[in-house]
């Protein structure tokens, strides 16, 4: 009895909170490019001015309950990521940042970032090391606690290869233009590899082409270019355009020509806007790749996708000793098409598409910490366009910087 009574109180409290409509939401004050430095541990380190080296990280975990066409594997919990950052301002103008990621426990350990920035001028900073190429918005801004949704957007992770870490170097900078801050980034990196097509998922996949070989030679001795230009207004938010391109295949080895050079191009547009209290985050990306004929039509030469997240603060309240908690109502819609083409044999459309909607709620304790609940429904149509397989489910998770 007591338990149910408590539940009722909680439900009532939730209702009151939602009905109470008090607000509080801050616009992102940092450009996407600088998101990697806009992490609480660095901020706190800088405020205290006591140390030049800071250590931090984040942790995220969640539960899943999914059912596909009436069949589910039950309830599961996962500790998705545990990342550790190490930051050091070596001098006024030189800084170091690294990130070590432990995904799914210690199954995958990756050095995501290890870079040095040499600031010659705020508009001209030299960067070298293991970097996160600006291939869209998400890649450089993917920390779990920043997102109101448990799953990462499909366009960012399966069309674009986030998170992509590559060894490389280049320049970036901020240039104020009237009320705007224009940010730019240009890097050369090793680039993707043959697994863009020689993979186990039977479709063109930039994600599969990420090289495990961070500390080795490039597979083809031909670097890739990545670049992004962002326009940021303090009032409205940020709009960015990025391009990534290069040769992905091993066309030459030991002086022998093995294949023609096969290139790929990626274009992405990202938005991060604030309209009144509604926050809009979205990214759309388009890919084209030169696919060997012998791989067949299963491997599309063009892919496309987008996601759009709407985040609305429903209420801000205090709960016992926790102050200024914000309850957000969230909605994501996303769609990816892994193969924009028609069948040679029948002239009909090739599918290989996923569409999903994700309504959810998040309770933000601060910019660093949140708990979130999602309901996800997605429709997946195979290569041939057979009736969609439908997956629905509930997720509950948390994420926090430390």
């Amino acid at each position: 009895m007591l338990r149910f009574g408590r539940l009722a109180i909680l439900a009532g409290a939730l209702f009151l909170i939602v009905a109470n409509w008090s607000y509080g939401q801050d616009v992102d004050s940092v450009a996407n490019k600088d998101a990697i430095f806009a992490r609480p541990f660095i901020f706190q380190g800088n405020v205290s001015k006591q140390t030049t080296t800071a250590i931090g990280g984040y942790l995220e975990g969640n539960t899943n309950y999914f059912v596909t066409n009436g069949v589910g594997d039950g309830f599961s919990m996962e500790m998705r990521r545990f990342n550790i950052f190490l930051y050091s301002s070596i001098s006024d103008r030189i800084r170091f940042l690294s990130e070590l990621e432990f995904e799914h426990g210690t199954e995958e350990i990756a050095l995501e970032t290890a870079l040095l920035d040499f600031e010659l001028h705020p508009s001209f900073i030299l960067r070298a090391g293991v970097i996160l190429p600006p291939i869209g918005y998400f890649n450089q801004n993917h920390d779990g606690p920043k997102w109101e949704f448990i799953d990462r957007p499909l366009v960012s992770t399966t069309i674009l290869p986030a998170t992509l870490s590559e060894i490389g170097f280049g320049f970036h900078g901020n240039v104020p233009v009237k009320t705007l801050t224009v940010t730019y980034e240009v890097y050369l990196t090793n680039g993707l590899n043959d697994n863009v097509v020689a993979n186990e998922i039977n479709r063109t996949s930039l994600t599969s082409g990420k090289g495990g070989a961070l500390f080795e030679e490039d597979n083809n001795g031909s670097p890739s270019l990545s670049s992004r230009i962002g326009f940021k207004s303090r009032k409205y938010g940020e709009l960015g355009f990025s391009y990534y391109g290069g040769v992905y295949n091993t066309f030459k080895s030991d002086g022998l020509n093995l294949d023609v050079k096969r290139g790929l191009n990626v274009l992405a547009i990202d938005v991060n806007f604030q309209v009144s209290r509604l926050r809009i985050i979205g990214e759309t990306a388009w890919i084209n790749a030169d696919i060997p004929q012998s791989f067949g039509q299963q491997f599309g030469s063009e892919q496309w996708g987008f996601h759009l997240d709407l985040i609305y603060p429903l209420s801000t309240f205090n709960l016992f000793s926790l102050e200024r908690i914000t309850l957000n109502g969230n909605f994501r819609i996303e769609r990816v098409d892994y193969n924009i083409d028609n069948f040679n044999e029948t002239g009909t459309k090739i599918f290989d598409e996923v569409t999903a909607i994700v309504p959810g709620l998040s309770l933000r304790f601060s910019r660093s910490t949140l708990i979130r609940a999602n309901y996800r429904y997605h429709w997946e149509r195979d290569f041939f366009g057979n009736p969609a397989s439908k997956t629905g489910g509930f997720q509950f998770g948390f994420a926090s910087y430390f």
Partner: protein
């Protein structure tokens, strides 16, 4: 007292909350709307083997690193046999042959025949049809459901059907006699002819004696994957004989092959739908009346089987497992074995109505998928089935539709 009411209220709230959650989750389609899944009655051990086979068939996608190629057609069983159902023309197999007019011998067997591998892994050259080929045939993947039952039909039943058809004089099916590959041990009940050949059952021209032979052939010829049963990769005969992929052969063990064979043997029979609809009932009797059932035999019975659920079972496949002369329109000029180029094995019609669920929402029927509706498929019948086709054409629209509705219900 008041507490009670609250408790009831909350219980109801909680239960309806749970029910509401359930209603947000996608439902299971009706059992008879799906092709995949095992026959009922498998033991738990058998279900374990079934699952392993299921994974190898549906989930395992080969890459150059795991043995794909050097030349191949597709990289997984499921990319052609989608959801265990019929395939799409984009993944059709191409077969080629060169025959002189008075003999049934494919002279291109030492030039990469009969099957074309038109794709290759990086660094290798895909095969092309040699210019001297005078027969080229495309075949779309059939469904693989219920094959365990077809495999368990006694040879004697099939031979008896040949005699019976000859006596009745309506159609005249033939058996394809096939040479036994070295790795295949025929069962004691299998009947051999004077040349030590066995009855072919699988493939559109009955070129494979057993599911094992079909599966080993599929791994090798369709994907370039070597097995314990056949350790040689397919090679592009127009190039040097040394061009084989660097993965160590066999690329997959016998256990995987056996798991897949078990999976295919125990995949459930397609279940019919709407059997009580008056139009379906009428269509079913018309189908027999105009003698479609002389080849598409409604019922057959299995013999004894090592898998108990397959033993001595009646089942309804709508095939006689025999090759028939289907007339010039379906003659691609290609021969696989000892059959003539216009001969095709009667395909089972069970599961026909579910074909669009695996063929991208539409029908691609007959061996090469050229018929995009059931009616078109019927109108392509010729040869031994010429008179049945004419009977169909002579029916009024309603009756034609009844036959079609019956076929869609299978």
């Amino acid at each position: 007292m008041q507490g009670r009411i609250w408790q009831h209220f909350l219980n109801i709230l909680l239960l309806s909350g749970l029910a509401a959650c359930q209603s947000f989750l996608p439902d299971l389609p009706e059992e008879n709307e799906l092709l995949d899944g095992p026959e009922e009655g498998l033991s738990t051990e058998e279900q374990g083997i079934f699952l392993a086979g299921d994974i190898a068939f549906n989930d395992e996608i080969f890459t150059p690193a795991t043995g794909l190629g050097p030349i191949f057609v597709a990289s997984s069983c499921a990319s052609c046999h989608v959801g265990d159902g019929k395939g799409h023309p984009t993944n059709a197999l191409t077969r080629f042959s060169q025959t002189a007019s008075n003999e049934i011998v494919n002279r291109l067997l030492d030039k990469g025949g009969p099957q074309l591998q038109h794709r290759s892994i990086p660094g290798f050259t895909a095969e092309q049809i040699p210019p001297e080929a005078n027969g080229v045939s495309k075949v779309v993947a059939p469904a693989v459901t219920g094959l365990g039952f077809l495999a368990a039909i006694p040879d004697q039943t099939i031979l008896d059907l040949v005699v019976q058809q000859r006596d009745e004089g309506i159609v005249s099916g033939e058996v394809q006699w096939v040479d036994v590959p070295g790795y295949l041990k025929p069962e004691p009940w299998q009947i051999t002819n004077s040349e030590a050949q066995y009855i072919g059952r699988f493939g559109k021209k009955s070129a494979a004696i057993s599911i094992l032979q079909q599966v080993v052939g599929a791994y090798k010829q369709d994907m370039g994957v070597t097995t314990d049963f056949d350790t040689e990769d397919p090679i592009n005969f127009s190039l040097s004989a040394n061009q084989i992929d660097p993965t160590i052969d066999p690329e997959i063990p016998a256990s995987t092959v056996n798991g897949v064979v078990f999976y295919i043997r125990t995949l459930k029979r397609p279940l019919p739908r709407n059997q009580d609809e008056p139009s379906v009932i009428a269509g079913k009797s018309l189908f027999s009346q105009i003698q479609c059932s002389s080849c598409h035999l409604p019922v057959l019975k299995t013999g004894l089987s090592d898998i108990s659920i397959l033993s001595e079972q009646e089942f309804y496949p709508y095939t006689d497992m025999l090759l028939h002369d289907m007339g010039p329109e379906l003659d691609d000029g290609h021969v696989d074995g000892n059959e003539l180029s216009f001969e095709w094995r009667t395909p089972p019609l069970w599961g026909l109505g579910l074909a669009p669920d695996s063929q991208g929402g539409q029908f691609f029927l007959m061996h090469d998928g050229r018929a995009t509706s059931i009616e078109e498929a019927i109108l392509l019948h010729g040869g031994e089935s010429e008179s049945m086709k004419e009977s169909f054409e002579a029916l009024d629209r309603d009756k034609k539709n009844q036959i079609i509705e019956f076929l869609e219900s299978l």
